[in-house]
């Protein structure tokens, strides 16, 4: 019996992301459209977001593009008369978007693990059942990719955190966490760029200045960069 034509043949192509799945596209007010990738929170999906971002950035009617975690906020210059047409165009661009890998830089961040800023290390040990030494080792042995910047000037959302040290964000944020705290928020990690309220969990401290508003390129990190944490000191 012959196979119906619409059924895709099993082939190596099936290991690439399923590009037939539609993105979720929704409105935030009148000019902003949020495109969310279907499927997993992973690098292949983020690569498609980067590809979509690249395809859209040259378009005349777009004012701003804000990549997030497997999603992209598209801000138009004008409120569209017919938003359905925009949604359709974005969906078509999403279908066409194949993963690109960004040629990022390698960023090495020296960290003091433990110590006075590691306020949430004991709680992470309790949650994970690991010793503080193991938590620190797992964190600094990881290789991370900058998925997107956001939340605060120059803050990079880092992907690649080992599942053993995932830790949910706090329901009640710390009121004043110092700039430089090395933090874990769910399945992400990052370095706090501002001193202030913060819902992520701190396990260490880094001196690196992540943002300079007067520099030609104010943010140290960019999407696609590879980040490694080097344990400069461990105070346990």
């Amino acid at each position: 019996m012959s196979r119906p034509q619409s059924t895709p043949l099993a082939s190596p192509a099936s290991i690439v992301p399923n590009t037939d799945a539609l993105a979720k596209i929704s409105f935030i007010g009148t000019r902003a459209f949020l495109v969310e990738a279907p499927g997993a929170f992973d690098l292949p999906n983020q690569r498609r977001i980067w590809a979509l971002s690249r395809a859209l950035e040259a378009q005349e009617e777009i004012a701003e593009i804000v990549p997030g975690m497997t999603n992209l906020l598209v801000i138009l210059k004008q409120t569209p008369e017919a938003p359905d047409i925009i949604v359709h165009q974005l969906q078509e661009e999403w279908k066409r978007a194949r993963g690109v890998d960004l040629a990022g830089r390698d960023i090495d961040i020296a960290v003091t693990y433990g110590g006075e800023h590691a306020t949430d290390l004991p709680a992470l040990c309790d949650l994970s059942g690991l010793s503080d030494r193991e938590v620190v080792r797992i964190h600094h042995e990881g290789t991370y990719r900058v998925f997107a910047l956001g939340s605060a000037p120059g803050f990079g959302y880092l992907f690649g955190l080992d599942a053993r040290i995932h830790m949910p964000r706090k329901t009640v944020p710390s009121l004043s966490m110092a700039r430089g705290c090395v933090t874990i928020g769910g399945m992400q990690t990052g370095v706090a760029v501002l001193t202030g309220p913060n819902g992520w969990n701190s396990i260490g401290f880094a001196e690196l200045q992540m943002f300079d508003p007067l520099a030609a390129a104010p943010a140290v990190m960019a999407p696609g960069d590879t980040v490694r944490f080097r344990p400069e000191r461990i105070e346990l």
Partner: protein, 330 residues
């Protein structure tokens, strides 16, 4: 140049904001009532990009160190120049040494002081707006303080009638486009956002009930109090970019509307997004006041934007005509 002789704690230099850097985590900032600032700039002959002073804590007193045209727009703050009343939405000339005083408004929240030539601070990433959270822009990235001097840029020569002149405030000129709310609640139009339907029957209650702007509200966002609303299921959202006007619902069920100093990213379920043409009205809403959300469409938002555009064009034309007429008799 002006010297600040008295100021409340939260007054800042703002322009139309710093859009275009959300992708590196930089908030746009900018005036809460961009319409009032835009009209102020037109009245003193500035370009639309010029910065003014957003006054949201009173009293606010400045002394002019040189002859300067100034405009007061936004909330009616019962302004006086050397003790003589200056009407709201008005432009006039101040002489060197004169004292301008703004008092707490009886309604609305924020007044804008525009100066001919604009507040001359160094632009950072293309804008003079103060980013308090980032600590840059405006006057050294901070709020204005008593004793500060604010320089003004080069002014274009505009001719003002003696005593100045005013424009019809947008709330009056556009009362059919921005209708006063029923029972004193401000009507704010919004579009359903990504997680709207996740709220099931609670989504209906979001639109039907009046919400009170709580005391924990500022330029970053307005926290609303009312009967809490909850999604049917808890969803773990991935962080995504947001813009001012987004209405997010944290776990406690009381919505937050992000405003000019909004975070650039968010992860709470979002039930709605305020249409941009209504954000200036929200920017004038006071703590403790009530508001009600009304569902709108893009087409309706466009119609409101067109009416706003026509009002701004009309003010620009009138200001130019007044100046031209006076220049020929000068």
């Amino acid at each position: 140049m002006i010297d600040i002789e008295a100021t409340g704690p939260l007054n800042t230099i703002q322009d139309l904001g710093r859009p275009g850097y959300r992708n590196i985590g930089v908030t746009a900032c900018g005036a809460m009532d961009t319409l009032a600032l835009s009209i102020g700039n037109i009245l003193v002959g500035n370009t639309p990009q010029a910065a003014g002073i957003e006054v949201q804590t009173f009293p606010f007193r400045v002394r002019f160190s040189a002859r300067t045209a100034f405009a007061i727009t936004g909330a009616d703050c019962r302004a006086t120049l050397d003790g003589i009343g200056v009407p709201p939405w008005w432009v006039a000339q101040a002489e060197a040494g004169q004292l301008l005083e703004l008092s707490p408004p009886l309604k609305d929240a924020r007044a804008y002081l525009s100066l001919a030539g604009g507040a001359d601070v160094t632009p950072v990433m293309g804008s003079r707006s103060t980013s308090l959270r980032g600590g840059f822009g405006g006057l050294n990235g901070r709020v204005l303080a008593t004793g500060d001097a604010v320089a003004t840029g080069a002014a274009t020569s505009t001719f003002l009638p003696k005593g100045g002149f005013g424009v019809v405030p947008p709330a009056v000129a556009l009362k059919d486009v921005f209708p006063a709310g029923e029972g004193g609640a401000l009507t704010i139009r919004a579009l359903p956002a990504g997680e709207h339907d996740l709220f099931g029957a609670d989504a209906e209650r979001f639109w039907s009930q009046p919400w009170k702007i709580s005391a924990r509200s500022d330029r970053t966002g307005y926290r609303l109090s009312g009967d809490p609303i909850h999604p049917l299921e808890t969803v773990e959202m991935r962080s995504h970019g947001v813009v001012p006007g987004v209405v997010q619902v944290p776990p406690a069920g009381e919505p937050i509307v992000q405003m000019s100093d909004a975070n650039t990213a968010g992860g709470y379920p979002k039930i709605a997004g305020v249409i941009e043409a209504d954000l200036w009205r929200l920017g004038q809403a006071r703590i403790g006041s009530m508001l009600r959300f009304v569902p709108a469409t893009h087409a309706q938002a466009r119609a409101i934007e067109r009416a706003l555009g026509a009002y701004i064009d009309d003010v620009r034309r009138t200001a130019r005509l007044v100046s031209q007429a006076l220049s020929t008799v000068a």
